[in-house]
C-alpha cells in the first residue's frame, strides 16, 4: 500500500526525524492560509501515488502566500500518470547546502532489509546507480540483531565527513529504520536528506510503501489508506478481494491464481491479442467473487471479449459457473464470452453452463485463440 508524502513525514516526525513544518490542503484558499502561517518561502507539492511529480509540474516554489495559492490552483486537479491530484502539501522551503539519499527496502536476494545511502541525493537514485555506482553504499541489516550504531555511523560518514553531520544522519537512519519496522514497510526513503548552511540535517521528502500483509495487525497504518488516490476499478477490485491491474488491451481476463493469470495474459499476446487486465480471483472461490469480477471487467469500455480461465484446485469450478450465470442473468453481456474451466467439479460446472446456454472448453490454448479472434471481430 502506498501512503502519501505527508503521511510518511508524519510517521518519521513521530520517530524524531527533523522535518520542515508543513500542512495538507485541498483548496487554494487553504494553501494561502497555511503559507501565511508558515511565513517565508514555501513549496507546494502534489500528493499522489506516482513518481516524477517534479518533472510533471507537481512541485512548485512560492515566495508569497498569494503565489502559493496561485501555483496550487494549477496543481490541484492536475493529472499525474493518470491520477488526479486532490491534495497538496504546503511546507516551509529549506535552505539546501547538500542533498543525500537514504532508503531502506526488503532485498529478495539477501532476504533482509537493506539500506542504500548516497551523497548524490535529490535526483533519481537509479540514475546514480547506473552512472556512478561508487556513490551508493549498501548496508544490509541482520534481522536478528537489528540495525547497529556502528552501521549507521559508517553510513553517516559515507554521506558527511563532518562528525556532527555524520552523527545527525546516523540518528535519522536509526529513526527511519524504526519507522520502517514499526510500520511494516517494504520501502522507506528520504530523498533528499538535506544539510542546511546552518549545519542542520533534515528530511525534505519522504516516501513509504507498506506491506499489504501487515495491515491487518496495524490498524493505525491501514487507516492511512487514501482511496481517493486509487484508480477506481482497482479500488473496487480490492474491496471485492480481487487482485486487479488495468491494462490497455481489449481481451478481458478472469483467472484463478496469479501465475496462471499472468500465463493467460501471455498466451493472449502469443496468439496475437492484447490483454485488457490482470485479474486474479484467488484461491477460495465463491459465485459472488465472479459476479464482482465481471462487473469490473465489463465497466471497461475497451474490452471487446472476455475470457474465463479457471483451473479448479481449491477453487470449485461449479462456484465459478454459478457466478457466471448469476452475473449475466440481470446484466446480459454486450461482448462475447469464452469460458475455459477444468478441475474440481468440472462435470457439474459444465452441466450448469450448458443448461444456461454457455459453451465451455477444457483446453486453455483453444479458449485463448477463440477469445482473441472474437476481440478482433471474428466469428462468434
Amino acid at each position: 500500500m502506498n501512503i502519501h508524502e505527508y503521511q510518511a513525514k508524519e510517521i518519521l516526525r513521530r520517530e524524531g526525524v527533523p522535518i520542515p513544518p508543513g500542512e495538507v490542503a485541498t483548496t487554494p484558499a487553504q494553501v494561502e492560509q497555511i503559507a501565511r502561517r508558515l511565513g517565508g518561502m514555501v513549496v507546494v507539492k502534489a500528493q499522489v501515488h506516482a513518481g516524477g511529480r517534479g518533472k510533471a509540474g507537481g512541485v512548485k516554489l512560492a515566495k508569497t502566500p498569494a503565489e502559493a495559492a496561485a501555483v496550487s490552483k494549477k496543481i490541484l486537479g492536475m493529472q499525474i500518470k493518470g491520477l488526479a491530484v486532490e491534495k497538496v502539501l504546503v511546507t516551509a522551503a529549506a535552505d539546501i547546502e547538500t542533498e543525500a539519499y537514504v532508503g531502506i527496502i526488503i532485498d529478495r536476494a539477501s532476504k533482509r532489509a537493506v539500506f542504500m545511502v548516497s551523497p548524490a541525493g535529490g535526483i533519481d537514485i537509479e540514475e546514480v546507480a547506473a552512472t556512478d555506482p561508487d556513490k551508493i553504499m549498501r548496508q544490509p541489516v541482520d534481522p536478528r540483531y537489528g540495525l547497529q550504531p556502528f552501521e549507521t555511523m559508517r553510513m553517516g560518514f559515507f554521506l558527511h565527513r563532518d562528525i556532527a553531520k555524520a552523527r545527525a544522519a546516523a540518528r535519522i537512519m536509526q529513526q527511519l529504520y524504526r519507522a520502517f519496522i514499526d510500520s511494516g514497510a517494504s520501502l522507506a526513503e528520504i530523498n533528499p536528506l538535506v544539510t542546511t548552511p546552518a549545519g542542520e540535517v533534515i528530511a525534505v521528502d519522504a516516501k513509504m510503501v507498506i506491506d499489504d500483509n501487515e495491515l491487518d495487525r496495524r490498524p493505525d497504518i491501514a487507516a492511512l489508506r487514501d482511496e481517493s488516490a486509487e484508480e477506481t476499478s482497482e479500488l473496487q477490485a480490492r474491496r471485492a478481494n480481487l487482485t486487479f491491474i488495468k491494462l490497455e488491451g481489449d481481451v478481458g481476463c478472469i483467472v484463478n491464481g496469479a501465475g496462471l493469470a499472468m500465463a493467460t495474459m501471455d498466451l493472449v499476446k502469443y496468439y496475437g491479442g492484447e490483454p485488457a487486465n490482470f485479474l486474479d480471483i484467488g484461491g477460495s472461490s465463491s459465485p459472488e467473487k465472479v459476479v464482482n469480477a465481471l462487473r469490473i471487467i465489463t465497466a471497461d469500455q475497451g474490452v471487446k471479449a472476455i475470457l474465463f480461465n479457471i483451473f479448479g484446485g481449491i477453487t470449485r469450478t461449479d462456484d465459478v459457473a454459478n457466478g457466471i450465470v448469476t452475473a449475466t442473468r440481470h446484466n446480459p453481456l454486450t461482448v462475447p464470452l469464452v469460458i475455459r474451466l477444468t478441475g474440481t467439479n468440472e462435470d457439474v460446472a459444465l452441466a450448469i453452463l450448458s443448461e444456461h446456454g454457455f459453451a465451455a472448453t477444457r483446453d486453455m490454448d483453444e479458449a485463448v485463440q477463440r477469445v482473441v479472434a472474437l476481440a478482433k471481430g471474428g466469428a462468434k
Partner: protein
C-alpha cells in the same frame, strides 16, 4: 526415489482443526499421506476424525509420533510462530501453505529455520507431492501421475495446469514442488534443482518462474554450471506491466529489473529448453526423457 517426501514421511498438520487445515488433512489422508499427528493448542488429547492424535504443541507431537514433516495451515499472524515452533521441535521439512505472511516476519523466520537445520517450503505455496506416495499441501492429487519429471514452480494453479497437461500426455512426475511466490521464501529454485539432480528417479525437470527478482537467472546459471539433467523453463508475466510491485529501488539492489525477457534470455544462455506456452512443456520434455 523422489525428493523431500515419500511414503515414509511422517506428516504433522499444524492447524489441523481449522477450516483449511481439516479440509486438506482429509484430502491428504485420502491420497495416502501418512498423517501421524495434528496440532491445535488447547485440543491436545483429542483426535481428528477419530484417528489422528492432536497435540497442544509441536514438541509434544514430535516426541509422541516422531513426525518429521509439518504442513502449516494457520492464519497469517500466527504463521511465523508456527514455522519457528516446527523448526525448534526438530521437524526436518516445514511446508507453509499460509498466504499473507508479512515479509518482515519472514526476514526472521528464514535464518531461524536454517539455524535449526530444517528445510522450509513456502510460505504462500501449494506444497509438494510425490505422486503415488505422499502429498503435503494442497496440490490436487488426481492431476498427478508417478514418473520421471521433476516439477518446480513459483505459482499454484499454473503448476496444476502444466502438471495436468503432462499427466494427460502420459508424462508422470517424480515430485512436484511449489516453492511459493513471496519475496522471501524458504526454498529456492536452486535448492530444488540440486535435489532433482541428485535424485535417481528424476530424468528431466520442468521449472515455472515468474517476473520479479533474480531467482530464475541464478537458477539458470546453476543449471548451466552444475547440472547434467535437462531443464525446461517457463516465465509467467511477459505481458505484465513493469514496476507495479517493487518499484525501482528493488531493481537497483538486485542488480536487475527482473523482466521476463531477461529471464528467458538467461534460460537460453544456460542451454535450457524454453517453453513459450504451458503446453510446450509436453513436447520439450518428451524430447528430453
Amino acid at each position: 526415489m523422489s525428493i523431500y517426501i515419500d511414503s515414509s514421511s511422517r506428516v504433522l498438520i499444524q492447524g489441523i482443526t481449522g477450516r483449511d487445515g481439516s479440509f486438506h488433512a482429509r484430502q491428504m489422508r485420502e491420497y495416502g499421506t501418512n498423517v501421524v499427528a495434528g496440532v491445535t493448542p488447547g485440543k491436545g488429547g483429542q483426535t481428528f476424525d477419530g484417528e489422528v492424535p492432536i497435540f497442544d504443541t509441536v514438541a509434544d507431537a514430535v516426541a509422541q509420533t516422531q513426525a518429521n514433516v509439518s504442513v502449516i495451515y494457520v492464519p497469517p499472524p500466527f504463521a511465523a510462530d508456527a514455522m519457528m515452533e516446527a523448526a525448534a521441535a526438530g521437524i526436518d521439512l516445514i511446508v507453509c501453505i499460509t498466504e499473507g505472511v508479512p515479509v518482515l516476519d519472514m526476514t526472521r523466520v528464514y535464518p531461524y529455520v536454517r539455524e535449526h537445520g530444517a528445510r522450509l517450503i513456502g510460505p504462500n505455496c501449494p506444497g509438494l507431492i510425490t505422486p503415488g506416495e505422499s502429498k503435503v499441501g494442497i496440490i490436487p492429487g488426481r492431476i498427478c501421475a508417478p514418473g520421471a519429471v521433476g516439477v518446480v514452480s513459483r505459482s499454484g494453479t499454473l503448476t496444476y495446469e502444466v502438471v495436468d497437461q503432462l499427466t494427460r500426455a502420459g508424462i508422470g512426475q517424480s515430485t512436484c514442488v511449489g516453492i511459493g511466490g513471496d519475496p522471501i521464501n524458504g526454498t529456492s529454485f536452486i535448492d530444488v534443482l540440486e535435489a532433482f539432480e541428485n535424485d535417481p528417479k528424476t530424468k528431466a525437470i520442468a521449472m515455472m518462474g515468474e517476473i520479479g527478482g533474480t531467482d530464475e537467472q541464478e537458477a539458470a546459471r546453476f543449471v548451466h554450471d552444475r547440472m547434467k539433467k535437462p531443464v525446461v523453463g517457463f516465465i509467467a508475466g511477459q505481458t505484465a506491466p513493469p514496476g507495479r510491485r517493487m518499484g525501482h529501488a528493488g531493481a537497483i539492489i538486485s542488480g536487475s529489473a527482473g523482466t521476463a525477457a531477461e529471464k528467458l534470455e538467461a534460460f537460453e544462455k544456460a542451454g535450457m529448453g524454453v517453453a513459450r506456452r504451458p503446453k510446450d512443456f509436453v513436447e520439450l520434455l518428451r524430447a528430453r526423457l
